[in-house]
Symmetry: D2
Subunit: 134 residues, 4 copies
């Protein structure tokens, strides 16, 4: 089965806009937080990935479907699933939920690059091990 | 032919991240700026849409494909095309270019809501007129 | 004695800039989070202030002194103290600390406004009670 | 006389918050843009400072006084003055104006650091020349 985590978050006031809702550009940031939590939960925080493996994780594709807005004061969860990983790429899916109701969905595609050359490298073995099925 | 505008922009330092590039969450913001410029160019700025028609434009779907990064100091263009509009929805496509090279592509889907009820309404005639072909 | 809380936080990657540190514009956001936590800890979250009292808390003055930077991966605390409150204004002071070391200090001055008229109102009794000494 | 520039800007929708005004954390970002414009106007953009002199400009102190809010759709100016410079530090003052009315004021204090060591260095001669009086 695919690995997944549940990331809990509250809306900050500065994330709202003049429509009175969370501005859409915060969702990719929430997803980034959720991925960070995912790596942490499986024992290899992104700060260590950068320092120990000299690798940056790069976002290649982003998709978000907004169904219902988030408001200031809301507490919500992001269910984060690693749906696929191969030698060079990996994909996450996100479900933003409040009180059991799905508010938004997202998908991201990533690769790894060498921090010095910025060239694509294969996903490091340590991350492969970390992310692959149970 | 579809209506389009060319929006010019420079990267601000605060839009960069510790990878030394523009953080991916700024692209939806750039697209929002480009849509605003689009409405302005065709004579109906979004601030007037909100005040005169009492309508908010809502983002329903966002897609971004990141090919090459933007760096601090970069000047770039966003070619913004209204690709489709019907009674309830409209779609934009964006091409982020620097020195003739495509760095990223994006798509967004939108609808209009009444600012008081937050219920979906049909796209106001004034915007329909504005956006429709030639 | 003045009321105070300790707010704990981690740095998110999107808060860093191309200098490799947390961008300075995030500190006022951290302070806002810390104030929100303060109100929550004393039983009256800002979302309830807005809904039940129809009052917005407005920032009038902001001061930040940056001593040492925050980096991605850092965990830090913000010690938040309500230093003064009178009929119309209140002041907070913030100390950003990591591993016992002071990284930054801040001060903010606030008032309350009616959400409909945007006119200054006296600080509501409920908040006065909440904030005043022991 | 002190050197100054006038930086023109429009409010972007994503800079607003649920109070319907520009969120206060954007003002330090506007000031950063204005400083960037200042350096550009005097012939030495910050991107060149970083690349050619290997120097980062660091923010040491920030002060903002908010008088009247900015709203979505507003066009405004930031009058930016270099008020003082010595061997190690320099200070800017900012006046945010709309239609001749002062909406906010700001001050910042800066120094320069070596990009590799992150140690404070004296302000490079090229910047001293650039910034000093008339």
């Amino acid at each position: 089965m695919n690995k997944q985590v549940l990331y809990k978050r509250k809306v900050h006031f500065y994330e709202t806009d003049a429509q009175g809702i969370v501005h859409h550009s915060n969702y990719p940031r929430y997803f980034e937080e959720a991925r960070g939590f995912f790596l942490e939960e499986f024992g290899f925080p992104y700060s260590r990935v950068r320092e120990e493996l000299n690798v940056d994780i790069v976002l290649l594709e982003l998709f978000v479907k907004y169904k219902q807005p988030l408001f200031f004061g809301d507490s919500f969860n992001i269910k984060t699933v690693l749906t696929k990983i191969d030698r060079f790429f990996f994909w996450f899916e996100y479900t933003v939920e409040k009180e059991g109701k799905i508010l938004a969905k997202g998908k991201t595609k990533h690769c790894c690059i060498d921090r010095n050359t910025r060239k694509t490298v294969s996903v490091p073995k340590q991350i492969q091990e970390l992310l692959k099925d149970g």
